[in-house]
């Protein structure tokens, strides 16, 4: 296997608030290899966005970040702000959740794209940057791209704005693209299109991608690997196929059985996971999923570690019973009532 592009080890993020210390991310480790797509899946508050913001060094200064983040041989957390800025938007780019507010309303789309290009390539003329911006917009499927550059964000629809954000993200051919819930704020009808555009943009630049989503259904066909997060912890990680069909984690299985299916032959009820996500200030004792887990036993009052489930440690699960859990089909077919 090639050496990883991004290697995160024991990353923890905590915020000190008036109510206590919020442990948003706890000791997560993962790697991303050049060109591959890693999906990070979890509910709101699972720490997926916070860990991405930590990678981009976009968290407020009140955040306490521990661990190491190595990107292309450099320690991101140790870089000076100036050196970090050379990477931001250049070698690592990010696409945000809400395209309606992510673009500055008082500048044209072209102005913002050209700015993104020229900040990292000061020698590129305005004219050349504009041409490049137009070709980026065309690549993400915006017709009449050259004229559209002179539009303000409010003259774009939500889907088009997200396309413009994607164009901005790939305009400097990043090595790593972080897409933080890129379709959550969009109409369901255009979500698939935007995912398609992201995929195309990624292929055009050869970037690796971290796709953050709470929608496990979106991940199939896009990501090679999936990483499931819960309560600021890594719960399961493995190749997409494995996670879908041979998950060894009760929480992942709960997520899978709450995906609606358009093709299910028998009419089945969606099986939501009962209860609410854990508090990041006072997490439950032991396994953080224990209060919501139907398999929980007394053993679950001690926190389980990540267990390797294959030789290469590609598939890992945080559950005492990872090996003993029954075959997937019983959980995923939804025959439970």
């Amino acid at each position: 296997m090639s050496s990883p592009l991004l290697s995160v080890r024991d990353l923890s993020v905590a915020f000190h608030t008036d109510d206590g210390v919020v442990n948003a991310v706890n000791d997560i480790s993962f790697e991303v290899h050049p060109g591959e797509t890693l999906a990070v899946v979890g509910e709101s508050g699972s720490g997926k966005s916070v860990s991405a913001m930590a990678l981009m060094r976009l968290l407020p200064s009140s955040a306490r970040i521990q661990g190491t983040i190595e990107f292309d041989g450099r320690d991101l957390l140790g870089l000076s702000p100036r050196d970090m800025r050379r990477l931001q938007g250049n070698e690592i780019a990010m696409i945000f959740q809400d395209p309606m507010t992510a673009l500055n309303p008082v500048f044209t789309v072209g102005n913002q794209l050209v700015e993104a290009i020229r900040i990292h390539n000061p020698k590129v003329s305005k004219r050349a940057a504009r041409e490049r911006a137009a070709s980026m917009l065309a690549l993400v499927g915006i017709p009449d791209a050259d004229e559209r550059l002179d539009n303000y964000p409010h003259e774009f629809s939500g889907g088009m704005r997200q396309r413009a954000m994607i164009a901005m993200g790939i305009s400097n051919e990043p090595k790593l693209l972080i897409a933080d819930e890129p379709t959550t704020a969009l109409d369901v009808t255009i979500q698939a299109q935007v995912i398609e555009v992201i995929k195309r943009a990624q292929e055009a630049t050869g970037a690796a991608m971290i796709l953050i989503t709470h929608d496990l259904g979106l991940v199939a066909g896009v990501a090679e690997r999936v990483q499931v997060m819960y309560g600021g912890r890594l719960f399961e990680t493995g190749p997409t196929e494995t996670i879908y069909y041979r998950s060894r984690n009760p929480y992942t299985r709960g997520l899978i059985s709450s995906i609606p299916s358009a093709t299910a032959r028998t009419e089945r009820r969606l099986a939501p996971i009962p209860g609410a996500p854990p508090s990041a200030i006072n997490p439950p004792k032991g396994c953080v999923f224990r209060p919501r887990c139907q398999h929980a036993t007394d053993e679950c009052f001690t926190e389980p570690g990540l267990r390797r489930l294959d030789e290469a440690a590609l598939h890992q699960s945080r559950c005492h019973y990872a090996e003993q859990l029954g075959e997937m089909d019983t959980a995923a077919s939804g025959s439970r009532t």
Binding site: L58, P81, R85, N90, T101, P105, V106, F107, M168
Partner: protein, 321 residues
Amino acid sequence: MFAYVVRRILSTIPLLLVGTFIVFTLTAISGDPLSRLATADVGEEAYERIIELYGLDQPIPIRYVNWMSSAIQGDMGPAPSQGSQPTFNIVMDRAGNTARLAIPAFFFIAITAITLGVYSAVKQYSKLDYFVTGFSFLGISLPTFVFGLLLQVIFGLWFFDWFGVRPFYVLGMRTVASHGWLDMVRSHVLPIVTLWLVITASESRFQRAAMLEVINSDYIRTARAKGLPRRKVILKHGLRNALIPLVTIWAIDLGLLLGGSVVTETIFAWPGLGRLLLDGIFQQDLNLTMGVIMVVSLLVVAFNLLADLLYGVLDPRIRYE
């Protein structure tokens, strides 16, 4: 855009008519303008002549219509309390004196309020932020005359006691024997500083609030994620947005400043519009009061229109059709 401006100007006409009519009525009924004559030993004819001259025997609506129809032709009648000089000339002369304070004060206010507001928003909860906040609350809660009198005491009395010189004049606009530009500076400084301190206090709060809202917005995060230097993130992407809501406040403030500050002008014996209005009211000089009110109303209306037009320039989402 042109049609919008025309429509806006037309729509201010009824506003001005209603406003001036209310002020006219209130001023006309608030005292007997002839009462000042009663102390002097004048004959019955003098009363008759004045009643005739100012139309005092007419009903108020008719007096208003008469006044308005000559006022729109630039004739606001004589001002009895000012030796019956034409009101229009006096008001214009005083408006110039007020502008000498208002315009420099406005520039100082705008620059300081933006700087302090942006700084204390970006460095929220820092020492500087607390200092600016403290200064603002002091400025907002203390009445204007406190600052004015304080400056007079410091520079008029204490400074003279300590150093034997008076760097600035504490009363009036010019000395009897004028000494050119230096003389002008010495008389203008203290009233300008008073206006500057008092208005900056509240404006820097508005600027801070607007900036805080902007720097926590998504597009600022986007700008940072692009790798833009912090200064550019704040000054280009942040300030440009944070200025939009403040334009209205500025325009209203500039309109009010040009309309004359009653308190500051009174403390520094400044011959401006604010003090002229006060004179007009106290002397029951209807023409004079109405003249000042008319100019001040026009200023406020004009600067509000300017604010709305500037909105359209600063915020591309606003289009005037």
